[in-house]
Symmetry: C2
Subunit: 405 residues, 2 copies
């Protein structure tokens, strides 16, 4: 057999993917996925939009289209940045991508030579780690604090780096956000440095607590790229995301996009645009915020009720995730084996670390379960945690007995 | 500014893209694009399918989905290969891609190290050249004859090569097809050689003349990948294509796909599947074949009527393109400048060559214009050709006068 390219010779399927297979069993309560709640999908409005687009513009919705994307949709996005965040974004600064995962691939293609240094948050988004890994960078990582990155560590990490990747609001996996002060500090650290900045903002619209903050991109647009997506505010099944960038960067992203898939689906773009202009988007997003806010509080309440005291949990102001740190020495991978037997699942945190650490961390998703299910799932998980904390002997005894819960 | 990755440092926008901008002027008759005829789009059937999918399965059509693609659609595709071509294709051998352009990108990612030898047809498909160029291969090319590749040249080119890319039926840009004998010879040449074979078959369903032939993949599946698409038999606006491959190759393509865009749009896949099962696909494709066959004959008739005798044109048995070879020394790029002034456009052939040749060739598309428009466009183009053939002085005089037609 001929040899595969070096970039995929050692590639492996995502660990999360494999976990999700286990959770296909409907008796397992899964906090493992990262799925938006389908109750938030505007199915009837999308059906109406699809019918209208196909009736009024069928042939053009089904034809090849421009690589940059459907202009009215790009105008809508630019206008949202202007009105919501006072940002100077022109429709020509926007490239529609096949989900923001594609934007990660395109940016990696355009920016990373093998061996270039990429600075990640710690913990960092797994989808970005996967997209970048294909292009074989060297990694550095900067610990996240409750209000954003450790600035001294970031300053050091940026030295000679090619790219800094950050999810600044309600990060996946940690749920943490950059404060106003840290946003300003990061912009200052980046200014004058020869480094690309990639700000990923899939959850920015999903703030259910605290005050809205504009992306760091607003303060430091040069050499920067900002990603957005309709996956969390319309529906992920469309695979519709975008990159905001200017000038030379945009030019190269468009060339890479053309070679990658010519353009993103015309029909999808036109349906989502029709949905946006025919409905009250603010009211729609407000409903999602309320839904996820309630579910987050339900999970926090259950954690307060059931979890052992020496387990640390983050306090997100939006988004879809909570991040759990177990006492040093405990393994979330071991915990998962036990918890799956007890019919509750999560994602162990090691996969979100590029430095081999994070074995005692895990991610919990609260967007895709109701309050009652959340309570029951956290109760089960707490029981497994207690067993793990009681030590290896107790865990092995329990696993041999089977879950007695 | 930081440096871009080497792979895109010298990248340029597609020349065809730039030509297509010129042809946005509705007074220009364009044979430049590669667009299916929107008259062939089943708009009402797609609208019915979209309504049904959203009514019956809205939440799952709008949710994240598996990387491999929607299983019923993969089953439909596998079944079509079995019934139409007697091929041994299992649904698990099929990965749904975001158009077959994405399949080109994924294959390149998985196979090509910088410097690896890629064997292209001469002329070769531009979209593949663009996708592969990102991964910086060395090129070899093998001349196409009327019945397929020059076998002696292919045998030599395969020596030490990593990948051979071929469009075996009604090729873009030439319109040429591999005969039954050449298909067998190519399979024989590949067998026992350590080389990946990528067979691209976007037009295979569009045969309006001659006898259907199965893909070479049927005879040599090991180390091979076969691409297909719904762009030419349903609609390109969906961006729905697929790769057929087995075992280790499929495993790596899935990993690359997951990093590239997680999965192809769920709604699009379900709409197209619903369209396929609710309608008579054979009858639908037969209508497209008849339409394109008539338009091809109209173009051939106009060429016979108007073109100078020493211009060579291919005789396709299907697909969307004719390939024109001008007498040596003539430049299709120069001709285009003149023809645009005379309100007719095409694609100069040099871009389809990886060896810097082909200046005297050009591609004509017949799928997207009716017979009357085709006659008028070919008449205009013939007039420009006559002027070019009369020599540089005549051309310059004519261009200064403007088109007198």
């Amino acid at each position: 057999m001929p040899q595969f390219a070096d970039r995929v010779a050692k590639a492996q399927r995502s660990f999360i993917r494999e976990i999700l297979k286990v959770t296909a069993d409907p008796s397992v309560i899964s906090f493992a996925g990262g799925l938006p709640n389908p109750a938030s999908f505007p199915v009837a409005e999308i059906a109406a939009a699809a019918a209208k687009v196909l009736y009024e513009s069928g042939p053009s919705a089904l034809q090849y289209s421009t690589t940059e994307g459907y202009l009215p949709l790009r105008e809508w996005i630019a206008n949202r940045y202007r009105t919501k965040n006072g940002m100077d974004v022109d429709p020509s600064d926007i490239l529609i991508t096949t989900g923001s995962q594609q934007a990660l691939d395109l940016v990696a293609k355009v920016v990373i030579n093998a061996g270039d240094t990429v600075v990640m948050e710690k913990p960092g988004y797994l989808g970005a780690i996967q997209a970048f890994t294909i292009f074989r960078p060297s990694w550095r990582s900067v610990p996240l604090e409750n209000d954003g990155p450790d600035l001294a560590a970031l300053e050091q990490a940026l030295d000679g780096a090619k790219l800094f990747y950050a999810v600044t609001s309600f990060q996946n996996p940690s749920g943490l956000s950059y404060s106003e002060e840290k946003r300003a500090s990061v912009a200052r650290l980046l200014s004058g440095r020869k480094v690309f900045f990639l700000e990923d903002d899939p959850y920015g619209e999903l703030r259910f607590k605290g005050r809205a903050l504009p992306p760091v991109y607003k303060q430091r647009p040069e050499n920067s790229m900002l990603l957005g997506t309709f996956s969390k505010v319309a529906a992920p099944g469309f695979r519709l995301g975008w990159v905001v960038a200017k000038g030379e960067i945009m030019e190269r992203l468009v060339i890479a996009k053309q070679a990658a898939d010519l353009h993103t689906g015309s029909l999808d773009q036109m349906i989502v645009h029709q949905f946006l202009v025919d409905n009250d988007f603010e009211a729609h997003v407000a409903r999602i915020r309320t839904l996820y806010g309630n579910q987050c509080r339900a999970m926090q309440a259950a954690i307060a009720k059931y979890f052992p005291k020496d387990v640390h949990v983050t306090e997100p102001e939006g988004g879809m995730f909570l991040w759990v740190t177990l006492p040093e020495g405990l393994s979330a991978t071991e915990l998962l084996k036990h918890s799956v037997a007890c019919k509750v699942a999560f994602v162990p945190g090691a996969a979100f670390h590029v430095d081999g650490t994070g074995e005692n961390t895990l991610r919990l998703n609260y967007s895709n379960a109701d309050a009652e299910t959340i309570d029951e799932g956290i109760r089960r998980l707490a029981r497994c945690l207690e067993t793990c904390l009681a030590g290896r002997d107790a865990l092995e005894a329990e696993m041999q007995r089977g879950c007695q819960d």
